[in-house]
Symmetry: C4
Subunit: 215 residues, 4 copies
């Protein structure tokens, strides 16, 4: 164990092995990301507001920002639950699994930008497609994590098959729905946004409704 290459191997073996720390930084990044979404909502400038009626109008103008903020909080909530569920099934971590999760977290930190962009340009297809790409990459990376964990036996052996099938099915269905909603931007971007909100609400709430639970 004295020559360089095995030292390096040894380092790679012990690196990134703590599921607890991975959960810690994930909770932290999700928490900061979810909280700074609110910065999308700029408080009206005091010098432009004279009366309560002015303030009311200014707040109404914030509505697209409120909708995208709500949508992005749901998005992050869904992916947080997804990653938490996956980590709870993983019996140990390793360097590569940690980096797949860090790549996933990189796109979590991008969500506040995508949200602010969409809030400012909610009628633009470019802003909508950028938002969709963000969700797509999050889905791809959460699936990549599960596939890697399944292949390298990080999951509990007995539940491995059912977990990976459940994750695949869930990611494919969800991403299919997001894609369909995004394609509708050729009709109207607001239609896409409304549909994405409904899909997110479904994933947050619907498992209680027998029919939708099957999605």
């Amino acid at each position: 164990m004295a020559e360089p290459s095995s030292q390096s191997t040894y380092y790679n073996e012990i690196a990134g092995a703590s599921i607890h720390r991975l959960a810690g930084i994930s909770d932290g990044i999700f928490a900061v990301g979810m909280t700074i979404l609110v910065l999308t909502l700029a408080v009206p400038a005091a010098n432009e507001v004279r009366t309560d009626s002015d303030l009311w109008k200014a707040l109404v103008h914030l509505l697209p920002g409120v909708v995208t903020y709500f949508m992005s909080f749901l998005t992050l909530g869904i992916f947080w639950v997804g990653q938490q569920t996956q980590l709870s099934q993983v019996e140990r971590s390793d360097r590569d699994y940690t980096w797949i999760n860090l790549a996933f977290l990189l796109f979590v930190t991008l969500v506040p930008f995508s949200t602010a962009l969409l809030a400012a340009f909610y009628q633009s297809r470019i802003a909508l497609v950028e938002y969709w790409l963000n969700i797509l990459v999050l889905g791809v990376l959460i699936l990549a994590g599960a596939e890697y964990a399944a292949r390298t036996h990080l999951f509990n052996e007995a539940r491995r098959t059912i977990i990976i099938h459940a994750v695949r099915r869930r990611v494919y269905t969800a991403q299919g729905l997001y894609l369909a909603a995004t394609v509708l931007c050729f009709v109207d971007t607001r239609l896409s946004i409304g549909l994405i909100v409904l899909i997110q609400l479904n994933y947050a709430v619907a498992p209680r409704i027998p029919f939708l639970r099957r999605l």
Copy 2:
């Protein structure tokens, strides 16, 4: 367990089950929310301040911001203690309980906005009512979490009844007081703000005072 619907059921069973992770993201979101409240206090612009007397005047102008910052820190502290207490009594979590808590956290992230709005427009009834609505929804959702936990036996069976009664009583009393304070905005919004601060101080400090402890 091979057909789709049971995979989906399986996923829903294992999803969001970690109380530890729920505590982690809650602490994170409260921590970020409580800290960015301070951004309400803008440092006076250097080019508008020539003398110590100018700086003093500029700081005095920050006073409404200081009061709302203090009030909101108390608000978040009260709800953090409330949620922490509830989670400490819950023996396991599930998907729905997690989502009720995420909905609660959504309105935690809204508090810095409501605070900045009220700091900028502390004489406006609209800003005050918006602030009150934020507190109201936080109260409703913390109660919803407790009701759900009681109904689905997430609480320790032996203490279930006493916990849910204590939470109900507490939420009803507090929300009644907030409502009364808010109604006073038809006299003067600053009266409402002062009263809300007193109510919060009561919840933070008063249990040490025998008479107020009963509230």
Copy 3:
């Protein structure tokens, strides 16, 4: 246990009892506070910088901001170590101890404001005194926490006396030094800032130096 007042008593008994959650929100608030200190350092505006020499001058102008950022990071580090040490000696928490710590954390969240104020007005006595008041209140509240814990037997009984004496001595000495440094602002505020930095460095580094270790 069925009548209201005992429900309320029961609630107060189980509220805020988790040291783990208190540590969680403390780490979160300190982490956010320490990180947003860097926002004091505004990146020079691109349209005012044409050459590398312009950029160099702009960076030199950031120097007061760098010093206060460094000083405040040390300040927060010292109080974080202090609170961590205290919590590690506490065997359980309660509602009142939690609220003393939340009051402490309120003034932790104020540090980024005090820092930005001092960076902008480092030659103003008002800004310096405000900064000092912030440190003073942090010291008072960390001592209040220790006194409360000692009086209500939250500390390990065997080590109680030595802990409270050590904390008192430490807070009195440190606050005495901060006061002395602040009084020097009547000569020059920069002298005060320099001295506070030295005091903080002493607390961070000096225990390795036999003579200073006694402070």
Copy 4:
């Protein structure tokens, strides 16, 4: 144990001993730092964008910001994995080890500034050298932590030698590569940036590739 100096010694003995709290604040600071990197990407101003083509151009102008954001996320990820690995090998902490880590975290909080500076002035050697200095100090401090831990027997005794050799080798190699990339700024700063990104990607991904794994 009653005289002052031993009280002080006692305090220093119990201070900063919690690895768990050190991990907590580290995860928090890394999480906030990694998330606020995204603030480097300013959403285009609504009044300057009329058409989708304007928005596209505005997004293309964000490209240097996207590259530095990506590079800094990788940088922070690499140092987070490095510190997590080191802490996982440490069997206990002490005051000095805690302060070496806090110094390390100070330069973690500086990364968002260095990133924003480089994004704004990516053709300036000064901005690049400042960025490199930030990485250099992070490397020096992570090595200092390992050297201290090895010297004071904080590591597991059996693995001590192999750990410290692995860390040294890793830090020397990485810092050598960063230095080489930085020197290339005398040709073109963009060349340096490109190379640093490649080095970071290597550390994140390459251990899977046999040849590069030896680095």
